[in-house]
């Protein structure tokens, strides 16, 4: 069995839906990181069957807001001295930029390059986001991240 060491200090992003870790790696700009990052795919999980995990060593100040938009089932553990010192509840961010594209063919973003793709939370209870330009609802069932 593959063994990935625990981290002494840092962030563990747990309960990522299997196969989504790479996307999160990208949205958090971890490909540009100069610190240690471990990405583990298809780990056995009682809750999800299979899950992905990302471990980030020695860094605590990453903007994790976008994760609430991507998957609110994700859990965040803050590690200090080999122990979990905090578990963060993900909040839905009020706005997300350049995470998903508007799929409305009549939207100005469909023809003009360089416009920031921006969605705004319009109903927190229903987790409903709309394109700020054309009001098209983001549908997680139809639009892959």
């Amino acid at each position: 069995m593959l063994k990935v060491d625990s981290i002494e200090r840092g962030i563990v992003i747990d309960h990522i839906a299997a196969g989504k870790a790479m996307k999160i790696y990208k949205y958090l700009n971890l490909d540009e990181a100069n610190f240690t990052v471990a990405m583990i795919k298809n780990v056995c999980s009682k809750k999800l069957g299979k899950k992905d995990i990302i471990k980030i060593e020695n860094v605590l100040d990453i903007d994790l807001d976008v994760l609430g938009f991507i998957d609110h089932n994700i859990t965040i553990n803050i590690i200090e001295n080999d122990k979990i010192v905090d578990k963060l509840n993900l909040q839905l961010p009020n706005e997300v930029s350049n995470v998903v594209k508007c799929n409305n063919p009549r939207c100005i973003t469909s023809i003009e390059q360089g416009i920031e793709q921006k969605f705004r939370l319009v109903n927190r209870q229903e987790k409903l986001y709309r394109c700020i330009y054309c009001d098209q609802a983001y549908d997680p069932n139809k639009q892959d991240l």
Partner: protein
């Protein structure tokens, strides 16, 4: 304070801000001479990426009646968009020449993109099937002028309630006032979208009824807002034949209506309102076009801060 602001969505302004525009429009109507030079030296750019005679002329008439001047283009072919220029670059250029811009664009959200990059006020003059906020302002001023209020009445919206952007915006805007009862009159295929229905049902200030035939409810209405029903919107010919006359307002139906009904229509009208009733004092659609110019005059003044 509306100076320097943009108008992109009909809900961008609060009720108080809308009232300040309508109050000013009333003053302009009462005393147009006092405002004939108030925008002297100011330039309105009309950036129309698709043809729209009515709205463009309304904006131009509004600015000219305020003593300002107008420049612009009336189709994408006659603008730099034909060369591939972005909306952002266009507005930054236009802003070097003009003091305020009215933009119509076939793509939804284009005026919003302009507003996010513009140092001058941008007015959405229609973006595809999305929003047309100055039509909503026109409708509200018309109702306020004819009824003396924007609350406590029964308003019937008739025809194509599914694709009609003016109807969606008017429903949202009127939902903010007290005591509004909406009667939505349309064939099954052209009912209001589900999200609008849900918004109305969850709003405790408003009542809503959906019905198929105009003749069944016309007697209850204080305002009737007509829109055009296009044959190609129906799924089958039989339904079109069965229902088409229900969405045509004629003399016979008007005999069933209240004496003080006001009939509105965003225009252009095709055959959904019989020309026979144009002289009926309850037909308000041409006055509505005039109110549209006055409300644009007031809006331009407020956004310019003159």
């Amino acid at each position: 304070m509306l100076k320097g602001r943009h108008l992109i969505d009909p809900m961008d302004f609060t009720i108080d801000e809308l009232n300040s525009i309508f109050d000013l429009a009333d003053e302009i109507i009462a005393n147009p001479i006092s405002y004939a030079d108030i925008c002297k030296g100011k330039l309105l750019a009309t950036c129309f990426y698709e043809p729209s005679t009515r709205t463009r002329l309304s904006f131009e008439a509004a600015m000219l009646r305020l003593g300002g001047q107008v420049l612009g283009f009336s189709s994408a072919e006659s603008s730099s968009a034909a060369k591939g220029e972005s909306v952002k670059d266009t507005i930054l250029t236009i802003a070097s020449y003009a003091d305020i811009c009215a933009m119509r664009h076939p793509k939804e959200g284009a005026p919003k993109v302009a507003s996010l990059n513009s140092p001058i006020p941008v007015i959405n003059a229609g973006d595809g099937g999305h929003q047309h906020p100055t039509q909503t302002l026109t409708d509200l001023l018309t109702i306020r002028s004819l009824k003396g209020r924007l609350s406590n009445f029964t308003v019937g919206l008739c025809g194509d309630l599914k694709f009609g952007r003016t109807v969606h915006s008017l429903i949202k805007a009127l939902s903010r006032y007290e005591g509004i009862r909406f009667v939505l009159i349309s064939p099954e295929e052209l009912k209001v979208p589900q999200y609008i229905r849900e918004e109305l049902l969850s709003n405790e200030h408003v009542e809503m009824t959906e019905i198929e035939k105009l003749e069944d409810v016309i007697g209850e209405l204080d305002i009737l807002y007509m829109t055009r029903v296009q044959k190609e919107r129906f799924f089958n010919e039989a339904d079109y034949v069965r229902l088409k006359d229900s969405y045509i307002l004629d003399k016979e139906k008007m005999t069933m209506a209240k004496e003080d009904l006001s009939v509105l229509h965003p225009l252009p009208r095709v055959n959904e309102i019989s020309v026979d009733i144009d002289k009926d004092p309850r037909a308000a659609y041409f006055s509505q076009a005039r109110y549209g110019m006055y409300v644009r005059m007031a809006l331009i003044m407020k956004l310019l801060g003159v």
